[in-house]
Amino acid sequence: MKHCPTCQRTFDDEKVFCGSDGTRLISDAPAAPPYDYQSSQPAPTPAPQYTEAPPPQQHAEPPRAATPAHAGPLERIRCEWCQAMNEGTALSCRACGAPLDIKNLVSESGWREAPRIKDMTEIHFGMSTCQVEGEIVPVAEINLGPGDAVFFEHHVMLWKDDRTPMSVMPIQGGIKRALAGMPFIISVAQGPGRIAFSRDATGELVVMPLHPGVELDVREHAFLLASHHISYSYVRIKGLRNILFGGQGMFMDRFVTGGEPGLLLLHGYGNVFERYLQAGESIMVEPGAFLYKDASVTMNVETQKLTSGFFGGTGMNLARMTGPGRVGIQSMYVHHHTD
């Protein structure tokens, strides 16, 4: 038997890749201990298991150097962005497209930059692939396999094969969403067929393979597409101040994975940075720059009055994000007037 190190599903011995997320399968039969290049002594067998993304480490070493190389068919490289395991010869991560030969860029203040996905990088999910084309305003071109599907807001569609079936996802609270300026209709494209997506401004594609049991909140209109294994809902932003001054309206998109992993693609304006907040740790963020967060991260808008004598001054609103969990921001944002 073999199992997938990402989703832990088991497969027959003749299978090579996971049918759900495309990760190379690992045999459950005991393998020869890998060769340790440092000590020239047999090293303990690494336990191939799924791990949650750890907090970013400053001055992270290049993945190839940080991950010990293993001998034979078990040689793998761990992607620092999504933690998926990849073949030793891979140049980019199969699950998220992050280059594996470039070190993780982490600022001194702890923000790690979203990986710059190389032009024409291919990402695998289920029986489908996604090719990222272009770098200034990237295009996500999906080659849907039979039985696979992606959902999206229809205005991000760039082109499609005329035979790619399309449908509409039934969502609840349509009137509320329409009043809140959110998309009333979520479209679904089903495989087999090709379809491509892009947004309308310079930025980066943020590829987020969601492992089972993840809940991610995303700024409205920031999501480009998601695979059908991900369930989509929305959460109402609580608190009048958060709605009025939070810079993102009344709702946030929420993406939840159940028992199976999924692929979520966001488009961030400008550059995208992510930071892991420890439990109780806070950071103040311009509300318009917020891109995504783990559902465990709380967000509350706080106002600071800046006075200028006779003219009364103005107010400055910043969102206090409190951990634990990930927070993603974009560097190009709409500043929301407060006065």
Partner: protein
């Protein structure tokens, strides 16, 4: 970029002079510590004499006082300041991206609030004092320009280009003196192609760091004394105070005044040397209604 290697006995003296800011270092770091320019990349100069803003590595670090600034990202770069105790920066509050909760942000009052209000300039400049992290970014794809100012050095910056400056740099503003009036019936409209005011930054006693954000790419050139060049008014980023400005109207051959805004005339900004000027490649379109110009500031005219 050039290395000056003097073969001397008792150890080679290897120095590097940054062509962007002029700082002399030992050339052992990857970036100029004052402006972040990569030191192993050659200066790129066009055939016409414009120097492109030197390449900057992602996560390049600049130092000022006891503090650091890290430039992160390449499309819309973020200036992430690590302020030491007592060091501070000021900025227009809408460029603030994030900050540590303990970093105190206060208002810095400005003179001439009425005029600034009518000119559409920010009424309040905001300042943040260390210790702690605070980060800034603008809202368009482009480049962050690091301008280290030496004592006694000043620079004039077009409005809304300024991002952040250290507290030892003084901030002032002045009227551009570049305008023209058009008339439509009884209605007179005044136009300021460059904006009504320009910012002036000056380092009186100690060196300071000024960060600007330009849309698109940035090009700089030195205009010799007595020379002149025409640029689009909204493309101007900054200039030395010694560079003088005035309007230039150009009428292409065969154009008719009835064409109005379809191309009857071109509006230019004429810059006179000596001094340094910088332009950005992505600039706002300057709308000209094409109506008759009744009055204008000093200007030259060319009818082809």
């Amino acid at each position: 970029m050039t290395y000056n290697q003097a073969a001397q006995h008792g150890g080679p003296a290897r120095t590097h002079t940054c062509p962007w800011c002029g700082l002399v270092t030992d050339g052992t770091s990857l970036n100029c510590p004052a402006c972040g320019a990569s030191i192993d990349v050659g200066s790129i100069v066009t055939d016409s004499g414009w120097t492109e803003l030197p390449g900057r590595r992602d996560m390049a670090k600049l130092q000022f006082g006891n503090s650091f600034c890290q430039i992160e990202g390449t499309y819309v770069p973020v200036a992430d300041f690590n302020l030491a105790q007592g060091d501070g920066v000021y900025f227009a509050h809408h460029v603030l991206l994030w900050k540590d909760p303990q970093v105190d942000v206060t208002a810095m009052s400005l003179k001439g609030a009425w005029k600034r209000l009518f000119a559409g300039l920010p009424l309040i400049m905001t300042q943040a004092v260390g210790p702690g992290h605070v980060a800034f970014s603008q809202d368009s794809a482009g480049e962050v320009i690091a301008l280290p100012l030496q004592p006694g050095q000043a620079v004039d910056v077009r409005e809304h280009i300024f991002m952040v400056a250290t507290l030892n740099i003084t901030y002032d503003w002045f009227s551009t003196g570049v305008w023209f009036n058009t008339r439509n019936g009884d209605e007179t409209e005044t136009h300021y192609p460059l904006g009504q005011f320009m910012d002036r930054f000056f380092a009186p006693q100690t060196p300071g760091l000024l960060l600007l954000h330009a849309a698109g790419n940035v090009f700089v050139r030195q205009i010799p004394a007595g020379h002149t060049i025409l640029v689009k008014p909204t493309a101007l980023l900054f200039k030395d105070p010694s560079v003088q400005m005035q309007l230039h109207f150009e009428h292409p051959a065969g154009a008719r005044s009835s064409w109005r805004s379809w191309g009857e005339r071109y509006l230019w900004l004429r810059l006179f040397g000596p001094g340094r000027v910088a332009v950005q490649s992505a600039y706002a379109h300057l709308h000209d209604n094409g109506r008759n110009i009744t009055r204008h500031s000093n200007a030259t005219r060319q009818q082809w």
